[in-house]
Amino acid sequence: MRQPSVSARRVAAASVTLVVAAGVAACGPKDTGAKAAGGDSQPHKDGTLSVLNAQPQQDFDPARLYTSGGGNVPSLVFRTLTTRNRENGSAGAKVVPDLATDTGRPSKDATVWTYTLKKGLTYEDGTPITSADIKYGIERSFAPELSGGAPYLRDWLVGAADYQGPYKDKKGLDAIETPDSRTIVFHLNKPEGEFPYLATQTQFTPVPKSKDTGTKYEEHPISSGPYKVVKNENDGEHLVLERNPHWSAATDSERKAYPDTIDVRSGLDSSVINQRLSASQGADAAAVTTDTNLGPAELAKVTGDKDLAARVGTGHFGYTNYIAFNPTVKPFDNVKVRQAISYAIDRSSVVNAAGGSALAEPATTFLPDQKSFGYTPYDLFPAGRAGDPAKARELLKQAGYGKGLTVTLTHSNSKDFETSPEIATAIQDALKKAGITVKLQGLEDNDYSDKIHTVKTEPGFFLAHWGADWPSGGPFLAPIFDGRQIVEDGANFNTGLLNDKSVNNEIDAINKLTDLDAAAERWGALDKKIGEQALTVPLFHPVYKRLYGKDVKNIVISDWTGVLDISQVAVK
């Protein structure tokens, strides 16, 4: 919640590098995606699936992983209390039971959550999985040496704020009860209707205490899923997963596990990944990538190639790129100035800078345009496709800047096509038409991140983005707009420094809801209400386009992750 999930950030980082390539690619018919591929022949169990990645899987300890919905490769080895459903598109944004028999039974005010484990669950060595192992797995994620996961557990569990993990504190967390070997109860310090979403994260993986080797556990984590780790070389650069004979499809309706072996190679240049996937020769015919997108030049290159175009998967991940204002900095304290900039934005040139309409969709809402987030369409400051400079000038005049205005836009110098100079210059050009002179301040990545997330140094006008930890409005709106989450010393994500009582109260009220559909609707309405303050200018939602090999079948790309789900693919 404190930052875009690691998977999201990795995706972003990967999409950077891939643009540096060109040699390759695929495209053509716009949305081939899921349906086009599976095709005629049925998927069969057999063969080896190759995964070609840029980023090595350096963390493979369930305590340290920061994933959305349990991750892609990790989810093959780690089962969790609940998991994401593996369906195409918007149908694939639901939380479903995994080790548990249901998605959790809340107390009346959603502060106590009870789960019951399915019968007959075992680890890769045949020993039974117990609720105590899940409690232990969560507890060890509090150990400082195993940090890295999302901060929710520490925030939500009663008495967990200063807990240092089971190595230092043998007594464990009282907030988690295990009355018997199949039951586990969580006590939260406030109502959290979205607890089932949290239970998809790898911290909810059972870890047998007797097999725990601390920081070395990631070299051979004990599998509860369809595959076990047989090789982990160079700190996650090369992983080999083979079937876990003790996993049973009877207890797991989500993971298909068609291939016998999964071979993950990483540390590859993204251009190389896309070259190999497009050539699709030898073992690469059965290859996919879980972190490398096609870049604009690659898309352009292969427009005409039907064969390649048929092998491009298209996905949407809950993610928004936007302009952020700091209303304590002049002239952005004036809502009319913020509105003027909202009107002046030329989203078509911003979308082009981000890679064109195939890789980015114009955004007018802060929430991603997906149902599970409670997406409620609104366009409060309609700029059309090319901006409305006349309206912007009018507002500037009312604000007392009739003679023009000079502002500084802070951006990063990364090459991610998100907060990078390409996007900044597109905005600069659009605002020029409205009489706003934009000076660009490009900062190195770390410097940029520090500056925008520190209240004292936060610039007035900068590029930002936010990704979802799970497909709901909660982790999207609360960290950015909940006034109680303003962090004076440390990483602050409420960059608009909004502390509005009615907003805070509504967030609390929605968190009490355990009907996730009803909650989604309220998040959507809240998004629109916050949008009226013009604290951000939503720019675009990214679209992921990824190649896969010729022999890869049964492509499933859910809106939860936006990327091909390797628990579903078959290579025979």
């Binding site: 495209c27 030049a297 352009a300 082009n352 064109g356």
Partner: protein
């Protein structure tokens, strides 16, 4: 270049170098090298284009920063619509992928940065190099040791690494073209200082310099009136070859993302943005690459020609269109001041031990 030589008669009638005839000789020799003349014409044209950038783009009716989203195919990653990268009567060389900015305008404005930075950096390098070289040759042992070791250190510094480090720590509010100029100018003066020192050491023991010293002239006056004219040949030659090196350095720094900042175009920056497009929109990469190639080639050929004309005996082995058959006759009439071997940019400081 002719100015420096032509200036020497005014510098003192007692100089032993008959500079006027030297200049004439220089032109005569340069004229015989067709390649150098063509190169000179190309360089002149490039400078003209850079100076007239606003005029040329006005003629075209474009500017280098305005976006034209309608001219690129958004669904195909933003590739320019139309053949030849969207080249048309409105956009002579097509438009940039993703943005639709006019490539002709960006190219000619880019020439300003590339040439401007390179020339200004060369001036800085020559100024520092000559000052340090002459100071070191004429100073006492301590001064010489100090300046020579400083030069050694500067020569040993890897330009790219140092530039990257310097550019990274300077606040982004500092004007970038000036900063890039300063960084290149202040880091890469070592070789020219060494050449000047060697040449000065050789010159200062010649009779006419001794005569000047015996007649009671101060060091500064001797340096200015007696030594500098003699240094003109190697310095001009080396400077002519420094310009293309500096152009490449600017391009490399911009390519690495620490050069001039967007939206200011420079050739190096265009290359960075274009490298992924080499298949989908080849002209986007070929235009700045071709411009860089032509510029560096022209300046190098011209530099080589200047060297040959100033000092045929020290001419490089390249001999691009140097009209070798005239060489014997030319060198026979050479004045002693041109006769030193250590005048090329590739010479080491052999003179230092003299």
């Amino acid at each position: 270049m002719s100015q420096a030589l032509a200036a020497s008669p005014a510098a003192g009638t007692d100089t032993p170098v008959p500079a006027a005839s030297g200049a004439r000789q220089f032109w005569r020799r340069l004229r015989t090298q067709r390649a150098a003349l063509v190169a000179a014409a190309v360089v002149a044209l490039l400078v003209l284009v850079a100076l007239a950038a606003p005029l040329l783009t006005a003629l075209e009716g474009q500017d280098p920063t305005t976006y034209h989203p309608s001219l690129v195919d958004s669904a195909r990653g933003g590739v320019p619509i139309g053949s030849l990268g969207g080249a048309s009567a409105d956009h002579w060389l097509g438009v940039e992928p993703q943005t639709g900015r006019d490539l002709f305008a960006r190219l000619v404005y880019g020439a300003r940065v590339s040439l401007g930075v390179a020339l200004a950096a060369t001036v800085i390098q020559v100024a520092i190099g000559v000052a340090v070289g002459v100071g070191s040759a004429l100073g006492n042992r301590w001064v010489d040791q100090l300046l020579s070791r400083a030069t050694d250190i500067i020569v040993a510094l890897p330009l790219m690494v140092m530039s990257l480090a310097l550019l990274a720590i300077v606040p982004s509010s500092f004007p970038r073209p000036v900063l890039v100029t300063l960084v290149i100018g202040l880091i890469a003066w070592g070789n020219i200082a060494k050449i000047v020192r060697a040449q000065t050491l050789a010159l200062k023991d010649l009779d006419y310099v001794s005569a000047a010293r015996l007649s009671g002239w101060g060091v500064l006056r001797i340096a200015r009136r007696e030594l500098l004219p003699g240094l003109a040949a190697p310095v001009i030659t080396y400077a002519a070859l420094l310009v293309p090196t500096n152009i490449s350095a600017e391009a490399a720094l911009s390519f690495l993302g620490v050069g001039v900042k967007p939206p200011t175009p420079s050739w190096g920056q265009m290359l960075t943005a274009a490298d992924v497009w080499y298949q989908a929109a080849p002209q986007y990469l070929l235009l700045p690459a071709g411009a860089l190639f032509v510029t560096v080639l022209a300046l190098t050929v011209l530099g080589d020609g200047v060297r040959t004309a100033l000092d045929p005996r020290a001419a490089s082995r390249l001999r691009i269109g140097t009209g070798r058959k005239n060489e014997g006759a030319d060198s026979a009439t050479d004045k002693p001041v041109h006769g030193h071997k250590d005048t090329g940019p590739n010479s080491d400081d052999r003179g230092a031990t003299a």
